[in-house]
Symmetry: C2
Subunit: 272 residues, 2 copies
DNA sequence: TAATCTAACAACGA
DNA sequence: CTCGTTGTTAGATT
C-alpha cells in the first residue's frame, strides 16, 4: 500500500531513469486497469517519449511527448519495478509491462488492482480521479491558513477526512495512524470540534510524518523502483501496527480498534 | 424554486441595475444563511462596490470591488427583489437586505432557506458549493463531445445525474421533466444504457428547454428582480406538472410517479 | 492488513 | 411536498 512517501520516492527514481526513453512495446494482462480498449492504448502509446515523471498524492504522472500523460495508481500494494537493458533476469509476475527502445523495461504487478490511464494533456482536467485530488501536503501551497480553510465547516471525522484524497492527497491507512497520534487526536474526532491548537498540531504532524518517511526512503516492506526497500520499519512507527506495545508518550498499551471500515491503532489515553 | 433560466434572467437584470453601486448597509434576519459571523460580514461588505453580476447554475455571482464576491443561492423559491431609490413602498418580508448609497435596496426573502456567502476573490476556489459546480449547459464549453466525456462510465440514473449540480449546473426538478420527455428518456434510465442517439437527444434537449425559458423570461410563478413574472406558464410545459393530461406526442395520459425521492411527470409510452 | 469509485440513503437546514 | 449539500454505508473491482 504505497502512500505519498513511497510514490514520491518512486516518481523521483523514474524521473531520473526514464527521461528521454522511447516506448516501443506494451503488454497488458489485465485490461481493466486501462481507461480505454487495449488496442487503442497500444496504438496511442507506441513511440512516445518520457519527458518527466512527477507525483500527486498516490498518483504517478508520467509526462509523455507528444502531449500525453500516463497516470498510474498502484492501488493496494502493487510493485512498480525497473529492469535495465543488461539485466536479462526474467521479470516477476506482472499485469502491465512497458519496453523501451534501449531494451529497458518497467513492470507493474498489482496485488489487487490499480489504474494505468492514458490521457491527452488537454483532457487532464476531465480525468476525474486525478482532477479531484486535494492539496499536496508537502507543497508550498499547503500553508496552515489553507489547511484551516479546508477544515472550515466540516463535520466529518478527522480520520475519514484525512483518508479522503479530495481533501489532502497521499495519506493512506498506514501513515494516518501516526499522524493522528502525534496530533493527539482520536480517529473519530469531528473536525468541527478541533481547537486552533489541535488543528495546528494536525497540520504539523502531517508534514513531519510524511517528510520523515521520504527521508528514510519509504516503508521497509515496499520495494522502490529499483526493488530496494525503504528504511521506515516497525521501529519507526509510533503507534501504527503496535497493538499491545506501550505508548511512546505515556506507556499505556496501544489498542487496535475498528473505526468505520478501517483499522486504527491508538493510544487510548493520549488520543482524544 | 428558481433554476438556471430564472437565475440567468435575474443576474442579467442585477448586472444592469446594480453595476457601480456602493453598499452602505446590510441587514441579516437569518444569520444561518451567511458563511461567517454577522458582525464580520457587516464589516467586510460595507463600502464595497458592485462590479458585475453573473450566474453559474443556480448561483448568483456578485463581483465586488475590491476583490470580493457575494455568492447567492436562492434555495427553494426565494424572492430576490429590487427597490429603486424613489420607491418608498415598504419592502415585503425579507431575511436579507442590502442598501446602496443612492437609497436603492435589494431584498431576499427565503421561503425555506438559502445562502448569502461573502468570499475573497482569491479564495473562490475553496468555496466548496460553487467550486464543485459542473458544466454550464448554455456555455461555449458545453459541446456534445464534452457532454459525452461526462457520461462515460457512469451507471447513475439519468434524472439523478441531471439534478446533481456537480455534473451540469442549473437543472432542478422543474425543467428536468421536459428535458427528459423531449429526449424520450425515462427518469430511471441508467446513463450507461444510453445510445449515442439518445445521448445526443438529451444534450440537445437540455439546451432547447433552458434556452426557451430564458427567452420567455423564466417561469410564470417566479418573480424576477423587478417583481415581474416570466411567460413560461403551464401551457408551455410538455409533461411537467400535467398529471392526467394527454401526452403532446401520443395522447397517452401523463403520470406522476415517484423516482427516488423526487416526483416525476412522464409519458409512460414515450419515455423509455 | 491495504485503495478508489459509485450510488443510495439519511440527516440537516429553519 | 419542495432543494441542495454533506456524510455514511454498501458494493464492486482482478
Amino acid at each position: 500500500m504505497p502512500e505519498l512517501p513511497e510514490i514520491t520516492v518512486i516518481a523521483d527514481q523514474m524521473n531520473r531513469t526514464l527521461k528521454g526513453k522511447r516506448m516501443t512495446k506494451e503488454e497488458v494482462l489485465q485490461p481493466k486497469i486501462l481507461n480505454m480498449p487495449e488496442e487503442k492504448f497500444a496504438r496511442m502509446i507506441k513511440g512516445k517519449t518520457v519527458e518527466s515523471v512527477t507525483s500527486r498524492g498516490k498518483w504517478l504522472f508520467v509526462k509523455l511527448r507528444p502531449a500525453y500523460l500516463l497516470l498510474i495508481n498502484l492501488g493496494m500494494g502493487a510493485e512498480l519495478l525497473y529492469f535495465s537493458p543488461k539485466k536479462s533476469d526474467p521479470e516477476k509476475k506482472f499485469q502491465f509491462r512497458l519496453t523501451f527502445s534501449d531494451g529497458s523495461r518497467v513492470t507493474v504487478h498489482f496485488w489487487w488492482f490499480g489504474y494505468v490511464h492514458l490521457v491527452a494533456e488537454k483532457d487532464l482536467v476531465t480525468h476525474r480521479m486525478t482532477a479531484s485530488l486535494g492539496m499536496q501536503p508537502l507543497s508550498k501551497g499547503f500553508t496552515f491558513q489553507n489547511f484551516m480553510k479546508l477544515l472550515r465547516g466540516r463535520k466529518i471525522e478527522v480520520k475519514t477526512f484525512l483518508l479522503d484524497q479530495k481533501n489532502v492527497a497521499g495519506i493512506g491507512n498506514v501513515y494516518v495512524q501516526d499522524i493522528l497520534f502525534r496530533a493527539k487526536l482520536h480517529p473519530n474526532r469531528k473536525i468541527s470540534t478541533l481547537s486552533a491548537a489541535e488543528a495546528k498540531a494536525l497540520y504539523a504532524s502531517i508534514k513531519t510524518i510524511l517528510n520523515r518517511s521520504i527521508r528514510l526512503g519509504g516503508l521497509a516492506y515496499e520495494p522502490n523502483f529499483f526493488g530496494h526497500k525503504g528504511k521506515f520499519d516497525q521501529s519507526k512507527f509510533l503507534v501504527g501496527y503496535k497493538t499491545g506495545k506501550p505508548c511512546p508518550e505515556c506507556g499505556t498499551l496501544i489498542e487496535k480498534v475498528r473505526t468505520g471500515s478501517t483499522a486504527s491503532y491508538i493510544c487510548p489515553k493520549c488520543q482524544v
